[in-house]
Amino acid sequence: MPEATVRLSGWRLFISTVFARAYPRLIGQQREASWLVFEVLLPLVSVSAYVFVYRALKAPEEYVGFVVMGGAMTAFWLNVLWSMSSQLYWEKETGNLALYIMAPSSMTAILLGMALGGMLATALRALVIIVVGSWMFNVHYVVLDFVQLFAVFMLSMTALYGMGMMTSSLFLLLSREAWHIANLAQEPVYLASGFYFPIKSFPFWIAAAASVIPLTLGLDGMRQLIFPSGAALGFLDVRLEIGILILLSALFLVGARVLLDYMEKLAIREGRLTESRR
């Protein structure tokens, strides 16, 4: 008689679930080479268009660097929108959501795995966009503080994917409108977060409100740390931005946990886990 499989529980099950859900994100997405090409090519197309706009305006060359960075960060925002927030909606459409609910692991572990896998896979794409974009448009970087730069980037990603986990629980209750709402959240966020221009261009309170989106302060902080004139065009001091990003990370991660539990119960009660309203 074959030996019984070891059953995991508690934190071991949590960790295993995280790795199991991260695996297809990280490995599976690299198997379709054309996806990698398109997911690098499309942001580069937008980057190129905006670079040529700045060149037509005879802008300082650092603005070209801003655009390249912003283009790389769009990869993360799109990943959070379409592969985090909308993911439970897609799972519902394909019939996997009920299986996730029935599985012995928690939805938080599943979403965390999605976040980690998505973050790593997207980071590869963002890196390629930055390298290729910098080469194409001759962008140069001068890193002022590697430790702060790493902190800003990691905290931005933590807060961003925490926000993605939080919004994915909201999308659990949506049907066809999920696609449209995710579609709606692209250009307005590019505008509000200053993907292609310094957020300091906005009045203070508008920029402050936009700072709820983690990429706003993340981009602003990174620009201050890698471009010589970044500090002059920065919205807030980098240390203050790091502090705010820590708060946002905690807020979104806790919010994700709370909302996910609540929404899961609500979806079960209202029978929305397996509906497919088109």
Binding site: E32, S34, W35, F38, L41, L42, V45, S46, S48, A49, Y50, F52, V53, Y54, R55, A56, L57, K58, A59, Y63, T94, R176, E177, H180, N183, L184, Q186, E187, P188, Y190, L191, F195, Y196, F197, P198, S201, F202, R278
Partner: protein
């Protein structure tokens, strides 16, 4: 097999496309969605311009960029709208095989589906232009707009975009995991090579000629000239052509692309039928 009247097919497909585009939410949210997205896209260009020029909206370059960006919404919407109809019907609603066995001409059906996007996009274009005129002093005077040129150019352009959309729809029939990228990639490439938001002279000399073969380049230039008559002399790219010459080039390129698109669609349609791809689903 006796086929349905093409006009009936087109009208019904348009109605269906409109229902799919609009009935996912209440009219208020739909109106907000139709307005906010295009305005946000235009606002990115406005802010970028304003940051560098300190708000010099009277410069002809601003008119060039703003008008080009506004009408470019049609390019992405109409082209991707038609190709997405294949994706929607095959993957999401699983009705493509029923369309194929119905007594309709599939290309006419797909073109009708794309018209709904034209209608929703028109709202965004009109509002974007109105915002430009009201808040950024866009020098468009409705009394001096060359309306015959504007209407004729718009009509030719929409037909041209619909035909390119048909080409993309044909390719979508043969693909499975990349459909969403095809329309975006085509729209993105045209964004750079059509002189939509910057004159073609800004492009490196090696790739600049690509723009001269794109019908959208002449389409956008004619629309700008129809709306702001003196913009033609401001940028040297197409200044040597008068309106009639540009119209002739636009018509010629539209015919070329139209024939190419129709041929590609028919070929892809043949291959899709041969390979049994009409009723397959891939969950993408």
């Amino acid at each position: 097999m006796q086929k349905s009247n093409p006009l009936t097919t087109f009208r019904t497909a348009t109605w269906l496309g409109w229902q799919i585009e609009s009935n996912w939410t209440d009219p208020l949210l739909f109106a907000i969605y139709s307005i906010v997205k295009p305005l946000a896209g235009a606002a990115i260009i406005v802010v970028m311009y304003s940051v560098i020029t300190q708000g010099a909206f009277s410069n002809p370059l601003f008119s060039y960029m703003y008008i080009g960006n506004s009408f470019y919404m049609y390019v992405a919407a109409v082209m991707t709208g038609i190709s997405w109809a294949v994706l929607d019907d095959r993957e999401h609603y699983k009705t493509l095989k029923y369309i194929y066995i119905a007594p309709v001409e599939v290309p006419v059906y797909l073109l009708g589906r794309g018209v709904a996007r034209f209608v929703t996009t028109s709202v965004g274009v009109i509002i974007t232009l109105a915002v430009g005129m009201l808040f950024f002093h866009l020098p468009v005077d409705l009394a001096t707009v060359n309306w015959p040129l504007f209407i004729l150019t718009l009509l030719i352009g929409v037909i041209m975009l619909a035909m390119i959309g048909l080409l993309l729809a044909g390719i979508t029939l043969l693909t499975a995991r990349h459909e969403g990228f095809i329309g975006d990639a085509a729209a993105g490439a045209l964004y750079i090579f059509s002189g939509a938001i910057f004159p073609l002279d800004i492009l490196p000399a090696a790739i600049r000629p690509i723009g001269y073969f794109m019908p959208t380049t002449y389409w956008l230039e004619l629309l700008r000239r129809a709306m702001v008559s003196n913009i033609a002399n401001t940028f040297p790219t197409l200044a040597q052509f008068d309106n009639l010459q540009l119209l002739g080039i636009l018509v010629l390129l539209s015919i070329v692309f139209g024939l190419l698109s129709f041929g590609v669609f028919r070929f892809c349609d043949y291959l899709a039928r041969e390979r049994g791809m009409i009723d397959r689903t891939s969950n993408y």
